[in-house]
Subunit: 164 residues, 2 copies
DNA sequence: ATAAATGCAAAGGGTTTGCAAAGGC
DNA sequence: GCCTTTGCAAACCCTTTGCATTTAT
């Protein structure tokens, strides 16, 4: 909403360090662009889109082409340090892979704020639901759409939820 | 997988009838294309994509442009007779809105088979999870990815799940 | 020196839009 | 006849790709 997704500079630095190591260990060139993009993507505290990562990286003084951003995101995903999310907006968002194993997302349909939470019982239920129907569960994706506390108070117009 | 998504001709006919009424009641022209598209979309027993709807409509002898298909889908969605789904494939799928209030989706990552099921306890949990974090729940979206019974037996290669 | 990454621009898939022609009402 | 829909093609958004150039190793 307001602007700049930075924060946890220590975590971010450590994550970029790990990415650097990943690149070296895999014989991949460690370039300035890759590190700059990784610093933004892995240091983000919001769920950023590819373009937001590009814009922020450039805002920090590192000229990067769009293709490079996407290609670096691919590498970051393969490294496991970044994970992708799909909130049904028509494009992907990315978040640093913290040690958190799996979590659900709660999305405010007014301001876009995203809250994450973990619920093992809910997770177990998805496994049971799958098994009850003969499926071997692999993963699941849950997004709950609603209006956050702040937006309920200000009572601004509600942009209907995307897809069910 | 095999091919033709038709079935429940009675339900389909009734649904098209309702769509027809919707158009009339809203002063919208009842055109041949709209009815042809509605017949396919509302009669489908699989979750069809926009293009699949277009192809099937043409296969039944009704020439329709792509734009018309999308525009008619919009009208169908607004009428409430059709609902859209997003399984993270990069495009939307549609299904006739039966009387079923809400249901979850279980998707086989090998053959694409979709099973629907209802689980009120799970639904209640999403409401509680939202409220616990100060959110007023509006809706949710859950897709469980796994391998269906048949594909487990034949043990064919598994196309990894799309996005978490 | 070599193999890979970069940037640009063009292509790609799904979807939307502008506009003249066709068709309900 | 008026106003909406249709169809085509172009535009659109997000993402990927081809290719000549730059760069890390």
């Amino acid at each position: 909403m307001d602007g700049h997704p930075v924060a946890r500079p220590d975590d971010a630095r450590a994550a970029v360090e790990r990415f650097s190591r990943y690149l070296r260990e895999h014989g991949l060139p460690v370039t300035g662009q890759r590190l700059a993009i990784a610093e933004v993507a892995l240091g983000a505290e919001r769920h950023l889109s590819a373009e937001e990562i590009a814009v922020e990286t450039r805002a920090r003084g590192h000229g990067v082409g769009t293709a490079t951003v996407y290609r670096t995101i691919d590498v970051l995903l393969r490294s496991g340090l970044l994970v992708e999310r799909d909130f049904g907006e028509g494009f992907r968002r990315f978040e640093p892979a913290r040690d958190v194993p799996h979590h659900e997302h709660l999305l405010c349909t007014v301001c876009g704020r995203v809250v994450e939470f973990r619920d093992e019982r809910l997770e177990r239920m998805t496994t049971l639901a799958a098994e009850a129907r003969g499926y071997a569960r692999q993963s699941h994706r849950l997004v709950i759409y609603g209006v956050c506390e702040g937006c309920q108070r200000t009572g601004r117009g509600r942009g209907g939820p995307a897809l069910r």
